[in-house]
Amino acid sequence: MPKAFLVDTTRCTACRGCQLACKEWHDLPANATKQRGSHQNPPDLNPNNLKIVRFNERMTKEGVVVWNFFPDQCRHCITPVCVDVADMAVPGAMIKDKKTGAVLATEKSAKLSPADAKAVAEACPYNIPRIDPKTKRITKCDMCFDRVSAGMQPICVKTCPTGTMVFGEREEVLAVAQKRLAFAKERFPKAHLVDMEDVSVIYLLAEEKEHYYEYAGFM
C-alpha cells in the first residue's frame, strides 16, 4: 500500500523538531550558518538538511500580522519526474519504491554527470533535490525508508508535537486531510490541500502558496 504524509501547516509552530530529528536520524553534520535577519536557517535545503522549516511573514492590508511556516521536504510524487529524468542517464539513480511510494536517490545517483544531476534537480517542480559536492550523490528526503520498511513512522512525523504531520496509508491520510481541511476552512476560507492527486506529501495551506514559499505547490 502506498504511504502518504499530511503536513497541516495550520498546526505548525515551527518548533523545528522535524528539521532536527531528520538531521539526527540521518547522522548529517551541521553547516556553518550566519544570522541574516531571519529565523530560517539554514536558508535552504542542502545535502546536510533534507528538511527545513521555511518562515514567511507579512502584515496584511488590515494590519494583521501573519507568520506562515512551511516544513519543506520531498513530496514523493506519485509520478516523480526526477526518476524519469534520471532514468534517461543512469537507470536506477532515482527510484520509486512500489510498496511505499518512496522516491529514493540511490548510490547510483553519484554516477550522474554534473549536467544530468542538475537536470534531475531542476526537473523537480518543488525544488527539492540537491547535489552533494563531496559524494556527487543527489540528496533529498528518503521518507525514512529504513524506518518505514521496519513498520515505524518517519522520524519527522514521530517527532512533530502538534499533529502537523500525519503519516500512514494513503487512503487513511486522505480522509484525515479532508477532515482537517473542513476544520481549517472555518477559520481560513482559502485553505486548500496542495496537489493532492499528484503527491504523497500533501500540504494543507491556510492561504495562497505565495504566502508560504515559491515552490510550496505546483498546480
Binding site: 523545528r16 538531521k23 539526527e24 536520524w25 527510484i95 548510490e107 531542476e122 529504513d146
Partner: protein, 188 residues
C-alpha cells in the same frame, strides 16, 4: 527556473511519456539496500527524560554495547506521546558533541591555562578550602548573642539540572556546612 520546471513536467509527466521503468519500482534491490540500515535494530531501550524544559518529555535511549546509538520520544508517555522539539530531537548529538568536558580541570591563580587533574587531588583541594573558610568565618553567635551557626563567605549556586535526589544531597550538605547563600535558576 520555474518555466523550466513547468516545461519539464509537461514534457515528462504522466500524460506525455507515461510510466518509465523507474516509476514501476523495478529496482527493488536498491530499495532493500536502503531498508537494511535501521540503526537501532537490536539496541537496548532505556527510558530517560529530556533534560530541557519542564514538560519533561520522556525519551527512549537506544544503547548498543554500552554506547548510545540514538534517542527518540517515548510514544507511550501520555504527555509527549513520542514527540519532541528541536532541542529534544537533538539529544543524540548533544551527548556526542565534541566540546564536552571529560576530565577535572584546574586553573591556578593568575594562570592563563587549564591543567588536567585527577578527581582525588581535586576534591582534596576543594575540601581543604571549604574547611579552612568555614573554620575561619563561621559565625556562632550574632551581635545580639543569638546562636546563628552560619558562614557568610561561602556560596552555592545551582541547579535545576539536578535530579530530586541530587537536590536532596546538595541541600543537606550545604546546610550542614552552615551555608546560607544558596540559590538557583528558580529565581532567574
Amino acid at each position: 527556473m520555474n518555466t523550466t520546471r513547468r516545461s519539464f513536467l509537461k514534457l515528462m509527466g504522466v500524460s506525455a511519456v507515461g510510466l518509465s521503468l523507474g516509476q514501476l519500482g523495478f529496482d527493488l534491490a536498491e530499495a532493500q539496500a536502503y531498508a537494511s540500515k535501521l540503526k537501532i535494530e537490536g539496541a537496548k531501550e532505556v527510558g530517560s527524560v529530556c533534560p530541557f524544559c519542564s514538560v519533561c518529555c520522556q525519551i527512549i535511549a537506544y544503547v548498543r554495547n554500552g554506547k548510545l546509538v540514538s534517542t527518540e520520544g517515548d510514544p507511550d508517555f501520555p504527555v509527549n506521546e513520542g514527540a519532541l522539539c528541536a532541542k529534544g530531537a537533538a539529544l543524540f548529538s548533544m551527548y556526542t558533541n565534541p566540546h564536552r568536558l571529560t576530565k577535572p580541570l584546574y586553573r591556578a591563580p593568575f594562570s592563563d591555562k587549564w591543567v588536567e587533574k585527577d578527581w582525588d587531588w581535586t576534591l582534596n583541594q576543594i575540601a581543604r578550602r571549604v574547611k579552612d573558610t568555614r573554620d575561619k568565618d563561621m559565625v556562632l553567635k550574632n551581635e545580639k548573642g543569638q546562636t546563628v551557626n552560619r558562614v557568610d563567605t561561602l556560596f552555592m549556586m545551582g541547579t535545576s539540572h539536578a535530579s530530586n535526589e541530587e537536590c536532596a544531597v546538595i541541600h543537606q550538605a550545604i546546610r550542614s556546612l552552615g551555608m546560607v547563600q544558596m540559590d538557583h535558576q528558580a529565581r532567574v
